[in-house]
């Protein structure tokens, strides 16, 4: 494979890896309810994700430390344990949302109730984790996830009022009839959907799986700095198509099917086929990555051997954790709890939990003994500190918002 192709592939998989059920749901809801006025939250979330992932990737490449090695080294046994447990619970919630999302997509495609699909999806998710080589997982689903570009195509075909969209995005205001807490609840959810802890855990541990070293840094940077913002653009496109189609009709998006309506209007059945393929790839890849990420973080805390480069027999505890995660998340979704609600709760709690993993990574990235000449520069540190502050504010605000707005109702 030529160097250019390899680079393109990395960027493409970063785009596919960025978008998951959280982005699909929150962008759809936000576009229909608030127009473009929450674009800033996507932009902030995406920059945060890029900064965080680049830092974690650099730490992984130079110091050879995946996220939870850094967490345990820097926070000590007890704080890291609390951190590990809450990150695991959060990842399980996210995994449940993704598995539910895949099943809903299959329901949309086949008409068969999603609950029938849940165990099958869970089984396939585990099979992928159990047997499929790492690079295949990343590349195949990353490429298929690119089908979501149909949202961008649809946006152009809808001939929206571009000026109005831009004005909505650049002059954010709370839509009439919506409370300020509700607005900020959805701001947090959109922000949290872009800045997801499991994605960073996966990105940095994936770097260990692919044996990144100092030479991999430029590639890793390109993946993060080009791939994630393009993923953010995709999220904005999903939001923007809802504005001319769903907002005037006062549709309160609460189902995945509604998110597809603007594409149907703009691009018909062919467009929908792309949407379903893209939804499926994005959510399924996310489910597998979330499972792996949870296996990674628990194994890293305890110092167990981990990773897909090992056969299961060589990393038994890692694979046991993965199996347990899939079973727990599948069981949770089978209780018939609404997957869309689970998604919203998981992205919002995710936004609150980001500092748990971000903080230790920021510390290691600043440690000259570890990082040598790849230590954080003033630029990354300024951005890093600003985002630390932003994340802390989000964390503090999240729970009150969740209760005041009763999860955005």
């Amino acid at each position: 494979m030529t160097r250019l192709m390899q680079l393109t592939l990395g960027i493409v998989t970063a785009i596919g890896g960025f978008v998951d059920i959280g982005n699909l749901v929150t962008s759809g809801i936000a576009g229909a309810r608030f127009g473009m006025s929450l674009t800033w939250a996507i932009v902030l979330g995406t920059i945060g994700m890029t900064v965080f992932a680049e830092m974690a990737g650099r730490v992984s490449a130079v110091a050879g430390r995946a996220v939870f090695h850094a967490v345990r080294e820097r926070l000590g046994v007890r704080t890291a344990l609390i951190n590990m447990v809450s990150s695991t619970v959060l990842n399980l919630l996210t995994l449940a949302a993704e598995l539910g999302g895949v099943s809903l997509v299959l329901q949309l495609a086949t008409g068969v109730n999603y609950l029938i699909w849940v165990p099958i999806v869970g089984l396939f998710c585990w099979l992928v984790v159990w047997r499929l080589p790492f690079s295949l997982l990343e590349n195949v689903f990353g490429l298929l996830g690119l089908a979501l570009i149909v949202f961008v195509v649809a946006l152009f075909r809808l001939h929206p009022d571009w000026h109005g969209l831009w004005h909505g995005a650049s002059h954010p205001s709370v839509a009439a009839g919506e409370g300020i807490p509700t607005y900020f609840f959805y701001a947090v959810s959109v922000f949290g959907a872009c800045l997801v802890p499991y994605q960073v855990q996966f990105f940095s541990s994936g770097g260990r799986e692919e044996h990144w070293n100092e030479k991999s840094i430029p590639d890793m940077r390109m993946n993060a700095i080009i791939g994630f913002p393009l993923g953010g653009l995709l999220s904005i496109a999903i939001m923007a198509v809802a504005v001319p189609v769903l907002q005037p009709l006062h549709v309160d998006v609460a189902h995945l099917g509604q998110v597809t309506l603007p594409v149907a209007q703009a691009a018909g059945v062919a467009g929908l086929a792309f949407v379903l393929l893209g939804f499926f790839a994005a959510t399924f890849a996310a489910a597998a990555e979330c499972t792996l990420a949870t296996g990674y973080l628990i194994s890293q805390y305890f110092g167990w051997s981990w990773g897909k480069s090992h056969r299961p027999a060589q990393a038994p505890r890692f694979h046991l954790v993965c199996i347990a995660c899939v079973i727990a998340a599948t069981g949770f979704i089978l209780t018939t709890v609404d997957p869309i609600t689970v998604t919203l709760v998981s992205v919002v709690l995710g936004a609150a939990a980001v500092p748990l993993t971000y903080f230790p990574v920021l510390m290691v990235a600043n440690d000259r003994d570890y990082m040598g000449r790849h230590v954080n520069r003033a630029f990354s540190n300024t951005l890093g500190s600003v985002f630390l502050l932003l994340m802390l504010i989000t964390s503090v605000a999240t729970l009150p918002l969740l209760f005041i707005t009763k999860a955005g109702l």
């Binding site: 329901q107 949309l108 495609a109 086949t110 008409g111 009839g177 189609v245 769903l246 009709l249 006062h250 549709v251 309160d252 609460a254 189902h255 099917g257 509604q258 597809t260 309506l261 149907a264 209007q265 018909g268 059945v269 929908l272 086929a273 379903l276 609404d338 869309i340 609600t341 009763k406 109702l409």
Partner: protein, 132 residues
């Protein structure tokens, strides 16, 4: 997502707000179902997705109704408001059910006529939303 929130004791203003909220939600549900069905008639939809969107709308409409019914109207005028709004919302919900049946049977003429009925009911629902 729409159900829940049973708030037993509210005043007349609160009740009015609740009715208005329910009407607003119903408008969104009817619109989503109409859009899906119309796109389906235009040959722009996958049938399974139309079915999903319309079925979801019907289910959500039922939960809007039951959530409104769970609130006790506090005074005489609220009871009057309720009987008026209830009729309109009930009609919307039952027409959504009709639409769902037509979609499942792939009965295009009946989809068209139900869409027409829904259009009229929508005006009534919007009226409920506006006056309250």
């Amino acid at each position: 997502m729409l159900a829940g929130c049973v708030s037993p004791a509210i005043n007349a203003d609160g009740y009015r707000g609740k009715v208005s909220q329910s009407a607003k939600k119903m408008v969104g549900l009817v619109n989503a179902a109409r859009l899906a069905a119309q796109l389906d008639l235009d040959g722009k939809m996958l049938h399974t997705i139309t079915d999903n969107v319309v079925t979801d709308a019907e289910k959500d409409a039922q939960s809007v109704l039951s959530s409104l019914d769970s609130v006790q109207p506090p005074d005489e005028s609220s009871i009057k408001l309720r009987s008026n709004a209830d009729d309109v919302l009930q009609q919307a919900a039952s027409q959504l059910a009709d639409l769902r049946i037509a979609v499942r049977r792939r009965d295009q003429p009946s989809m068209r006529s139900t869409l027409g009925d829904l259009g009229k009911t929508l005006a009534d629902v919007q009226h409920v939303q506006d006056v309250t």
